[in-house]
Amino acid sequence: MIVATLLPFAIGAFTLALLLNLYRLLRGPGLADRILALDTLYINSLALLILVGIHFRTAVFFEAALVIAALGFVGTVALSKFVVRGDIVE
C-alpha cells in the first residue's frame, strides 16, 4: 500500500533525473561530458523501467531493462574507445 502511493513520486523523481541528464547531454562542453550524460541516461532509464514494472505488476520489463543495460555499456565502451583510439574496431 505504501509502495503503491510512493511509486508515482519515485517515477517522477527518475523523470526529473532523466531531464537533468538530458540538460548535461545537450549542454555539456566536451565530448566526454556528453558520453557521461548518455551513460547516466541509460542507467536511469533502466531504473525507470523497473519502477514502471512494479507499478503495473508485470515482469515483461526485466528483459527490456537487461537489454538496455547490456547495449548501454557497449555503447559507452564504443564511444570512449572511438575518442581514445580514433577507431572502434581495429
Binding site: A32, A47, L79
Partner: protein, 117 residues
Amino acid sequence: MQLPLLLDLLVALLLVIGTAFALIGSWGLARLGTFFKRLHGPTKASTLGVGCVLVASMLFFTFRPGSSGVSLHELLITLFVFLTAPISAHLLVKAALVLDPGARPAPPKERGKATRA
C-alpha cells in the same frame, strides 16, 4: 495484492533511498563544475540508487502474493550494472584525458630517487 506491512515498509524504504541517490547523482552531473568533478555523481550515487531500486523490485516480486518463487532477474541486472559501471567510468576518464591532456595531474616528486639509485 497486498504485501505484509513490514515488507511493504522495507520496499518503500529501499525505493526512497534509491530514488534519492539517483536524483542526487543526476543533480551532481548537471551542477558540478568540471568533468572530473561531474564524474563523481553518476559513477557512485546513480549506480547505488539503481542497485537499491533493483533490490526493492526483487523483494516486491518475490513476496507478492501469487509469485512463483524467488525473482532473480533483477539480481542479474544489478550484478551487470555494478560490474560495468567502474569499467565505463575508467574508459571515460581515459577518453577525457586524451581530449584534454592538460587535465592530467602532475606526477609526484620523486623524493627517494637519489637513495634508490
